[in-house]
């Protein structure tokens, strides 16, 4: 029963668990001012876990392991690597957070949610899927409200908890209905049961709607996005970055597997629902981003909009569509983490987070400004950064699937996006600090930021120029969804 393959299939999670326990044991022995080193340990441990997994636990032929609870395949593996990369970057960014960085718990919670996300990407059973989603979510509720003496953070944590539990309950109801109709919870067995066509379209629509509500919350797509701006603004900035990237990508991992594998027979219904949601999400996200003055809220709405672009790939319901979603997420994770990391680094020195406060940044720290340029141009979809190629791929998938109207909506939206992203860069590069000399007000970076931000910048450029390997892995995973 417990074969080497079973072991390999959950090796990354085992390693993360070991790492978390290690931190729990070591942390009390460290002095107060050494405790931030838990961040080095977390990041280093995650990178080591990635390397070990890549060397010894690479998936071969897709197989069901652990009694069909987990699907051991390339798609899940690639997602896991993305999550762990995001986790490592978040740990580095967290280190110099004034109040969260010196607490071992924050890293342990981060790792706990990472285990949940990893399992979300590979679950092949509704029960397992639900457990994984909860494992990923509960630590994040705590992390969002981590700053106890900060009202905004408490509000963020509480809001996230309320919205999150309601959404997941609704989704659970959807799962139970599926089980009631089909008598199985195995995602891969569901497809053949549903293909017999014994379920009325109306009921199917109801079930889909329930599930989409739950997952829509995870993806923060309109109209389930209300929590996002408040939560991102209130929670510690690195956690906001993590929520907007890894957590969102985990939601997409579930969407892709659940809908592509289990519900292909309802594809005409759900592609239409997702197409409508994608169009609304992009439009609302971008329009609401326009008037924002707080950079974290701007990034929150922009990340809502980005979920909309990625959904175009889901709507396409093709191999290229799935591959483009995965590729889009890879580019997006690196880019958005970079953006939030910069916001964090800037906020740590200045304590400010309005867009106008960024005036003169290009003189206060030219390198930080350059990295910000890379992040925002990538978000805007300009080459040679990852965002451009990712957008072209999802648009290509959309055109291929004859969703040209949706692609046109996406294009109009990316034009809106260019406007407000450039607007931020205008402050960074064009305006001067009012009444102050920039040379007297530098924005120095500590070592963890230097490492994390430079790696992320290189990542953003690599995804956008040498895109063959990333796309190759995405495509390899996507193929498995269709056989």
């Amino acid at each position: 029963m417990f074969t080497p393959q079973t072991f390999a299939s959950i090796l990354p999670e085992i390693l993360i668990l070991v790492l978390a326990i290690l931190i729990l044991i070591l942390e009390p022995f460290w002095k107060e001012d050494q405790r931030r080193n838990a961040g080095w340990l977390t990041a280093g441990g995650l990178i080591a876990a990635m390397i070990i997994s890549l060397l010894f636990a690479r998936p071969g032929e897709p197989t069901a392991v652990l009694g069909g609870m987990i699907r051991f395949d390339w798609l899940g593996f690639f997602f896991k690597m993305m999550f762990m990369f995001a986790g490592a970057a978040t740990a580095l960014l967290l280190m110099d957070h004034e109040r969260a960085g010196r607490r071992g718990e924050s890293y342990v919670l981060l790792l706990a949610s990472l285990i949940g996300m990893n399992l979300m990407a590979v679950s092949s059973d509704l029960v397992m899927l639900y457990l994984a989603i909860e494992t990923a979510s509960i630590p994040l509720y705590i992390l969002a409200g981590f700053l106890l003496n900060d009202e905004r953070s408490t509000e963020a944590g509480f809001k996230y908890l309320l919205f999150g539990t309601v959404a997941s309950t609704i989704m659970l109801y959807g799962f139970s209905l599926i089980f009631g109709f089909s008598g199985t919870t195995d995602l891969y067995a569901l497809a053949s049961i549903f293909s017999s066509g014994s379920i009325s379209p109306l009921l199917a629509f109801g079930v889909l709607a329930l599930i989409i509500v739950g997952l829509g919350f995870k993806l923060a797509i309109v109209p389930f996005h209300f929590w996002a701006p408040d939560v991102y603004q209130g929670s510690p900035t690195p956690i906001a970055g993590y929520l907007s990237t890894a957590s969102k990508a985990a939601g997409f991992a579930v969407v892709v597997r659940l809908f592509f594998v289990s519900l292909p027979d309802f594809a005409p219904t759900w592609t239409l629902i997702f197409a409508a949601l994608a169009a609304i999400t992009m439009t609302v996200g971008n329009l609401l981003a326009l008037p924002q003055t707080n950079i974290k809220r701007l990034l929150a709405y922009s990340s809502v909009a980005h979920a909309g672009y990625a959904l175009i790939g889901v709507v396409a319901f093709s191999q290229l569509g799935a591959a483009s979603v995965v590729f889009y997420l890879a580019a997006y994770i690196a880019t958005n983490l970079l953006a939030f990391g910069i916001v964090m680094a800037f906020n740590r020195i200045t304590g400010l987070e309005d867009i106008t406060d960024y005036a003169g940044l290009s003189r206060r720290n030219p390198f930080l400004a350059l990295m910000m340029l890379a992040a925002f141009l990538s978000l805007a979809g300009m080459p040679p950064f990852g965002g451009f190629v990712a957008k072209v791929f999802v648009f290509a998938a959309g055109v291929q699937a004859n969703y040209t109207w949706l692609v046109i909506v996406g294009i109009i939206n990316s034009i809106i996006g260019v406007y407000y992203y450039l607007n931020v860069l205008k402050y960074v590069y064009l305006y001067r600090m009012p009444n102050e000399d920039e040379d007297q007000n530098p924005v120095p970076l500590t070592r963890p930021y230097n490492i994390a931000l430079v790696i992320l910048t290189i990542g953003v450029i690599l995804v956008g120029t040498v895109f063959a390997p990333w796309f190759g892995w995405s495509a390899e995973g996507a193929v498995l969804l269709f056989n």
């Binding site: 055109v399 990316s414 260019v418």
Partner: protein
């Protein structure tokens, strides 16, 4: 395996840009030296490519390089030049070189000349732009063409917004970026449609443009998609009625960027519209050529008229660019041998001419601190070389025989006459208007008595400026006197296009 000269030309500016960004901000002179060295190397390489093509009597696509980039989707790094693009590659090299000379700057805060504020970032962004431009001219892969096209667009925003003319730079930079971005994404949808239709027709998954020429797009398909693709690119070519961004952008931009912008970037639009629009969708081009010709005809006359009434020297040149780029598009819209050859030469000729105009305007503004034509006068006394350069540029602009403008404009009007004599008659009015505003302004700016305010405040230009002016002038005269150093080459490129148009 031959020497990868086109990749070197294209990627060298990117590498240099990154190197400059890594250098300390205080080492301004070292940054400038790296910029100049890069520009010289690129100029020499592009000149070598041009001369090889010319002297070896090459035809078709040459200096081909092909590397797999993303085999799953048929994206390749596929470079090559033909008779159409080789002159444009050379043009980019020239403008890059002269642009660096003009922007050299100094560290004396009392003398305004070139780029003084953050030259490191300036040259780095300028070279990103240049690399993108080279990339578009040499790419034979549609995806890569878009990739480089977008790279060429976004540094423009920063270059104008940061170093531009304080009064209008924010507005102009944003307007320009949005116009160009809208144009390019509209064209991108068309390109994706072409990609998938080719896949349906032939089962080949490839962005290779030479492949796409024989993809067998139906007449219906071409009829629908030609306009979005052609106009999407032509926005950057400054085509009327989408030209509005261009004069504002030219005026707001710092001198070297105006040179790049009007000299090279607008050619990018016209070239891409020709390469992707006309060459891949020839049936669509035939059906819509009347509309393109109308737009271009309006641009030619309207641009010249608006240029005539301007009192700001830079706006005048900006609108004359609209007019002259209208001639390029007019030449393309004829879809015949004569007109296309004219368009090809005009792209080069206008690029050099307008770079010269903007360079001289920048020099005058730096010294007189005004560009309003009525406030200027007598500049010829203190900066004779600027006056000579401006007059030569003016003669080119009017299409005077013996200068490159004549070699370019004459065939365009002949080509138009072949298709539609009435349009040729109407558009040739622009020559008269052009002559009028050029002569009027040369008299006022250079030979009228100098206003007292300026007396004694204007010094001569630097040696670097002179080198730039002389280089540009020699090129224009050279082509005017010896058309054979360019025309036969462009003819081979046009011959290829005529095959596509005839064979469809």
């Amino acid at each position: 395996m031959n020497f990868p000269i086109l990749s070197i030309i294209t990627f060298l500016p990117f590498v240099a840009g990154v190197i400059m960004l890594m250098m300390p901000a205080t080492r301004k002179n070292e940054v400038r030296a790296v910029a100049l060295a890069t520009a010289v190397i690129d100029l020499l390489l592009s000149g070598w490519v041009y001369l090889q093509y010319l002297t070896q009597g090459m035809t078709g696509y040459q200096f081909i390089e092909q590397y797999n980039w993303l085999p799953q989707l048929g994206i390749t790094l596929y470079f090559g030049v033909d008779g159409m693009s080789a002159p444009l590659v050379l043009l980019t090299g020239i403008v890059m070189f002269t642009g660096v000379l003009i922007s050299w700057g100094n560290d004396d805060p009392h003398v305004m000349s070139g780029i003084q504020d953050r030259p490191r970032e300036f040259f780095a962004f300028l070279f990103l732009l240049a690399g993108g431009v080279f990339g578009v001219f040499v790419s034979l892969d549609l995806f890569m063409l878009f990739f480089f096209y977008e790279i060429a667009v976004f540094p423009m925003y920063l270059l104008i917004a940061i170093w531009g003319w304080v009064k209008t730079r924010e507005y102009a930079a944003m307007k320009l970026t949005l116009y160009l971005f809208i144009g390019s994404v509209v064209a991108l949808v068309g390109a994706l449609a072409m990609y998938w239709t080719q896949y349906q027709n032939t089962g080949i998954l490839s962005f290779d443009m030479l492949q796409m020429e024989s993809a067998g797009f139906s007449a219906q398909f071409q009829y629908i998609w030609f306009l979005p693709v052609f106009l999407g690119f032509a926005v950057l070519g400054g085509i009327w009625p989408f030209h509005n961004w261009s004069p504002d952008g030219h005026v707001a931009a710092p001198t070297a960027v105006s040179m790049f912008h009007a000299g090279v970037l607008m050619k990018l639009g016209a070239f891409a519209a020709l390469r992707v629009g006309v060459m891949l969708l020839p049936e669509g081009a035939k059906q819509w050529s009347w509309l393109i010709m109308t737009f271009a005809g309006v641009a030619v006359v309207y641009g010249a008229y608006i240029a005539y009434v301007q009192t700001d020297l830079k706006y005048m040149i900006g609108f004359s660019s609209v007019s002259h780029m209208g001639l390029v598009v007019l030449g393309i819209s004829t879809l015949n041998q004569t007109g296309l050859v004219g368009a090809g030469v005009q792209m080069f000729s206008h690029g050099v001419m307008t770079a010269l105009f903007f360079a001289i305007t920048g020099m005058i503004y730096d010294r007189a601190h005004t560009r309003m034509i009525p406030e200027l006068g007598g500049i010829a006394k203190v900066i004779p070389i600027a006056a000579i350069g401006f007059i030569i540029g003016g003669l080119v602009s009017m299409g005077m025989p013996g200068f490159s403008g004549f070699v370019a404009e004459f065939p365009i009007f002949m080509g138009v006459w072949e298709e539609q004599w009435l349009v040729a008659v109407i558009t040739s009015i622009s020559i008269v208007i052009t002559a009028a505003y050029i002569m009027k302004n040369i008299r006022q700016v250079f030979f009228a008595p100098m206003p007292e305010k300026l007396e004694g405040h204007i010094g001569d230009v630097t040696v670097l400026d002179k080198v730039a002016i002389v280089t540009l002038c020699l090129l224009m005269i050279g082509i005017g006197v010896f058309p054979s150093i360019m025309v036969p080459m462009v003819e081979t490129g046009v011959g290829y296009i005529m095959n596509l148009l005839g064979g469809a």
